[in-house]
Subunit: 463 residues, 2 copies
């Protein structure tokens, strides 16, 4: 609801229950103990972190990362922190920013299909920055990560879909809360301080979807990581915020979502873990395009159509697909990630949609371009976001048809631990020698046992 202006000399009255959402969450965060977290949930957090590390390593050499790093380098503080996969040292706040940028830039990161948050980049980026500058045990790290995850996922659930549909990049707007909660947990904030940390985080929540397809989209995740980190350290110093940042009439939910359900933040806290819903992408582009890619790859494997064979392609997809990925006339790899047309084309004629299919070269490949121009995408409300219907007309008159019921990597068909490892290998191979990659994978699975998570950060950097 839009918070109304006060009328006459009345005050807006909220039920006591809804007025305590921020406090309830903060109380849970401060009271939670790692021993309360079941082993399968811990394992899912290791899977999330392994996937995150692969993205951060793989993305660490992107041109937009280089620009961000070299432009901000003159402003870096004392080199007490490191970032993932690069040798540069800096202050932990900029380290959080850089980690967020590198881990998100490939569009290969984890996704919550319930609300389209990419949960790990804003959260883990702050935590690894903190752990590179301060000694943190793996057990405490995993715990803080899970609590940050709960925080951002639940806040995202509460405001989704209205918040996302309005145009907010929910990864950063919800992510900043996750980073604040996680770093705040490591700092041992009191309940009051945690309320302030959430408040300082929420008042920095930002990120517009209008920037999808440009470099600053990836900056969003880093900005959220850095701002969440700042929120936690300021709160630790008793820098105050309002007490009702989530639920108040001018708070995050009311201001950024036309409709929201705050009970999703508090119901089942500590028993129903949101990380169970985390999904890992098999393709480095928006999740909503994945069912179409699955179908196109299957058609390729069966029929091997060449670019010149294809007369027309019609894909029927859920409305959100066109809302997010409707770029047709494109020239840059980055834009390809937001083009259902491009993904359809590479799936059909290359039979894959890996990192090499989203380079500038791939987007400008005449064979790909030819097919892309022949793709029509039809928004169909009877198709779910996990489905796709593909029809290909060939020059010889044949018609190839494929209906995808559920996409690989989504909740129904999750990537296995082994597939996640292979995904990390694929990304890290751009940056690290293979022996180091194997060592890194081992450390990710052993993270809870580390005495100092700084060791894992160090293991991502080429010696």
């Amino acid at each position: 609801m839009m918070a109304p202006l006060c009328q006459a000399n009345t005050t807006i009255v909220f039920e006591e229950k809804s007025l305590s959402v921020t406090r309830t969450l903060a109380s849970y965060l401060t009271a939670s103990r790692i021993d309360d977290i079941p082993e399968d949930i811990r394992h899912e957090s290791r899977r999330s972190l392994l996937n995150y590390i692969g993205c951060a390593v793989g993305g660490s050499r992107e041109p937009s990362v280089e620009i961000l790093l070299s432009t901000l380098q003159p402003y870096f503080g004392k080199p007490t922190a490191g970032i993932l996969a690069r040798p540069e040292r800096m202050d932990p706040l900029h380290a959080a920013l850089m980690n967020g940028m590198t881990s998100h830039v490939f569009e290969y990161d984890d996704t919550l299909p319930k609300n389209y948050i990419h949960p790990s980049p804003p959260l883990a980026s702050a935590l690894f920055a903190y752990a590179s500058a301060n000694r943190v045990t793996g057990k405490d790290f995993i715990h803080a990560f899970l609590l940050g995850f709960e925080t951002e996922a639940r806040i995202g659930n509460a405001v989704y879909p209205a918040h996302y549909e309005a145009g907010w990049h929910i990864t950063s707007t919800a992510g900043v809360f996750g980073a604040a909660a996680a770093v705040g947990k490591l700092l041992g904030l009191s309940v009051e301080q945690m309320i302030w940390a959430l408040g300082i985080a929420g008042t920095q929540a930002s990120g517009l979807r209008e920037n999808f397809g440009s470099m600053v989209k990836y900056f969003h995740a880093g900005h959220a990581a850095k701002n969440g980190y700042v929120s936690a350290i300021l709160a630790k110093s008793n820098f105050t915020a309002g007490p009702h940042s989530l639920e108040g009439p001018r708070g995050f939910a009311a201001v950024t979502a036309a409709k929201y359900d705050l009970s999703k933040i508090t119901n089942g806290l500590g028993t129903k873990f949101q990380i169970r819903d985390n999904a890992y992408k098999p393709y480095p582009c928006g999740l909503v395009v994945h069912p179409t890619i699955d179908g196109c790859i299957a058609l390729h494997q069966e029929h091997h159509p060449a670019s010149a064979d294809i007369v027309a392609v019609r894909v029927r997809v859920a409305p959100l697909v066109l809302d997010l990925c409707n770029k047709k006339d494109i020239t840059r790899g980055l834009e390809g990630k937001y083009s259902i047309y491009h993904s359809t084309a590479v799936g059909l004629i290359r039979g894959k949609a890996g990192l090499q299919e989203y380079t500038d070269a791939a987007v400008n490949d005449p064979l790909v371009k030819r097919v892309r121009e022949r793709v029509t995408a039809i928004s169909d409300t009877t198709i779910t976001e996990d489905q796709s219907h593909i029809e290909v007309e060939l020059a010889d008159g044949r018609k190839l048809v494929r209906f995808v019921e559920a996409s690989i990597g989504n909740l129904g068909i999750p990537l296995t631990d082994r597939q996640l490892e292979d995904k990390l290998r694929d990304q890290a191979s751009f940056v690290l020698p293979s022996a180091q990659i194997e060592k890194l994978i081992e450390l990710c699975w052993q993270i809870d046992k580390l005495e100092d998570v700084g060791v894992l950060v160090q293991a991502t950097v080429k010696p």
Copy 2:
């Protein structure tokens, strides 16, 4: 309007004219020359800057400023920049943040009555930080300031009132654009780069009114200054953003305002200067309370009511007053700034509402508290935001009545240059010796003639 979800395979079609708002603004900003700016406009900018400097000096020792500074100090970069009124050196981004905090913390800064932006803190804070680290002439400084002012004021006008009513702290959400435009002008951005600077700024726009009455409210202005500065330097390095950050379907206006008018950004650019509408507060609290304070002070001067004489007070005010300043049960000076009840009480029994009336001591003064508890505020749609109707019942049966038609300091009765100087003297006297204050005032009036604005920054610091 809420940007709708795409339906079927249509794309949202915008008129070409409205799609060029960001580009039109960026083109104006890059093409403008200082010689195009009339002298009266330059004088108003000197008045704004003098008022700003007084606030930044006066606020530089507040407890919340000390917390922010000491907490972030370990993260500061190379000490290439200075802040106003304090000896600490740091990187220019943190300097922008600190200047924003100090200049806003007294609630004494300038205000645009058209949209309730406090325009100078986010804007001038970034510019003085830049000028402390880089040689900038006074002429270029004033020019950049005026262009930043146009930018934030016009963007504010375009989204006001829906944006503000929704709960956005418009000082920071619009201010970040002003800071980006101003620093971008000094950096000599191209049109494309200025479009990106505005885009990177807009995607960081944040600040929730839920935090009014807490420390982080003042951080908002600094956050906007810092983020605007970052936007400009990133754009200078060709770090890209979307091309339609203001007008796009997922851009700033559509996402943050239920109703907006983009023509207010572009109409009369370069001829109708928004700084003509700038107002300077005679009291360090929300502008909307000022007419009531004027009336209460007038009643005090006529009747000198003591606390014990007052049986009841009824004030009739515009609805926005209660929306913003409805805090009754208060214990901290900061909260007093958001209390129509407190301001009424100090006006009536102390006959003034200066910095000393908004301390913790003043708020907890039993004489003030007694009157505060007897004030009723009535929201009345027939009363404008520049008016107030006050009725005081005394123990001896007398009834004092006052109607304020227009408040001092607002556009109809602007503070004179001399009054602005006295306001600076009053604030700076907490921090600087009087000879230095007089020198500082002189420098403010001479700013266009300075070869290096760093001299002015230096003049605010006690040697």
